[in-house]
């Protein structure tokens, strides 16, 4: 992973930010797919896992912002907590991929992904409770919003994201993590 040049990392981040705009639009054709699948989360995780935490952080901040400016989705009222949530996903997944070396690519990917999911949901919940919906946000609303409603999407993310990263490695667009 470390053998990628910073120009390449920059361009991969740019393409992930662009996917944050394009994927939700592509999913709009299918009823409720946007809310079930959370398509904007996918490129942010992939960016963090492949390019590292600074790029994941930028992707998490710029992706929803650009999408909101260009397409109006997410609406401005949802934008700040969503930016925080996605920035944490990108940062934590990137940090863990840098420091974690179990010897197995899938193990690294899954540990980083699950930790990022938990950290992002925790911080987004805190930000809503303390800043954006101060006094009107409950633990019940957090559990329902971030764990129950998004459960199908979470399962799909866990199935799809490692496959995407490994497919990119196999196609030699991204360097292999542990040799051949």
């Amino acid at each position: 992973m470390n053998s990628m040049s910073s120009v390449k990392k920059s361009m991969f981040t740019a393409v992930c930010i662009a996917l944050c705009v394009v994927l939700p639009m592509a999913f709009h054709g299918v009823k409720n797919a946007g809310s079930v699948f959370s398509p904007m989360h996918l490129p942010v995780y992939v960016c963090g896992l492949i390019c590292g935490w600074p790029y994941g952080l930028l992707c998490g901040l710029a992706g929803p912002l650009l999408s909101s400016l260009l397409t109006g989705m997410p609406p401005v009222s949802y934008l700040p907590p969503m930016m925080i949530e996605l920035a944490v996903y990108g940062t934590v997944s990137g940090l863990l991929m840098t420091f974690l070396h179990t010897g197995k690519t899938y193990a690294d990917l899954y540990v980083s992904l699950v930790a990022a999911m938990l950290a992002g949901r925790l911080l987004a919940g805190f930000s809503r409770a303390l800043i954006f919906a101060h006094g009107s946000y409950s633990l019940h609303a957090w559990v329902v919003g971030y764990f129950v409603t998004s459960l199908p999407g979470t399962i799909i993310h866990l199935a799809v994201i490692p496959s995407i990263v490994v497919a990119l490695m196999k196609s030699r667009l991204v360097p292999q993590r542990y040799g051949a």
Binding site: A26, F37, A62, L70, P75, S77, I164, L168
Partner: protein, 249 residues
């Protein structure tokens, strides 16, 4: 109007000032002024009526939901009408309208800004606006390059995604279904090819940049920016007055 009378930096700063004014506005008078200002701005940006009203058409369900939630679930005020869990209040109705107006104004301002500025202009303006952050060792040049490239990737990836979607449908893929999981799973045949195509485009671009000697973080020359013209100064002053007016009104 990409080569209009205003500098790209002015447009970006005016957009940010407008958003600040929308956030500061709390009563109907400043909102009325902001709505009225949108019409000449959209005309200057060359935004046709169809594009101007598109956000309203695409987000009307969201706006209606927000308004209904505010109007019928406000518990702080005396209800005008009450049934079961629903409390229709005057304060809630007005609050809902203000929230909807606020979101709509920001979305419209974003549409006007993107219609009036080319990608190149926007990247230059973002770079200039972020320059103070370089004092804190934030790689401003790299960030604006990434955002500029992302803006250029959007239409290309949109086209690519549509093409892959049609190709997968031709191979028998069904996007949709009644079950939530099935509906989400049906999108997988779309995702993998889209990511692979997108990353191969980015890889080709990065290789071309490196072949031409591009180095991120390296010192590079840039076109000297002209100073702000009288029109720019007037627009910026107007924007600042608007923010103060919205704060005080």
């Amino acid at each position: 109007m990409t080569d209009g009378i205003f500098d790209a930096r002015t447009k970006l700063l005016c957009f940010l000032l407008f958003v600040t004014a929308v956030i500061e506005a709390g009563t109907f008078l400043p909102f009325l002024v902001l709505v009225v200002l949108l019409f000449p701005a959209s005309r200057c940006a060359g935004l046709c009526a169809h594009d101007f009203f598109r956000p309203l058409a695409s987000l009307w369900q969201f706006f209606l939901l927000v308004w209904l939630m505010n109007a019928f679930f406000s518990t702080d005020a005396r209800p005008l009408w009450h049934w079961w869990i629903f409390n229709l209040t005057e304060e809630g109705t007005i609050q809902g309208l203000l929230v909807v107006l606020r979101v709509l104004l920001i979305v419209e301002a974003g549409a006007i800004y993107t219609a009036s500025s080319s990608t190149k202009e926007s990247v230059g303006a973002i770079n200039w606006t972020l320059t103070p952050l370089s004092l804190f060792r934030v790689p401003v040049g790299e960030i604006s390059l990434i955002i500029g490239s992302a803006l250029q990737f959007v239409p290309m990836l949109q086209e690519e995604t549509e093409r892959i979607k049609k190709a997968q449908k031709a191979r028998g893929a069904v996007f949709g279904g009644k079950n939530l999981i099935k509906r989400a799973k049906s999108m997988i045949p779309l995702l993998l090819p889209v990511f692979l195509r997108a990353f191969s485009h980015a890889d080709a671009l990065a290789t071309a940049m490196e072949a031409r000697g591009y180095q991120s973080g390296g010192r590079r020359t840039k076109r000297k920016r002209p100073p702000f013209s009288l029109c720019d100064k007037l627009a910026l002053s107007g924007g600042m007055i608007l923010v103060v007016f919205c704060y005080l009104a």
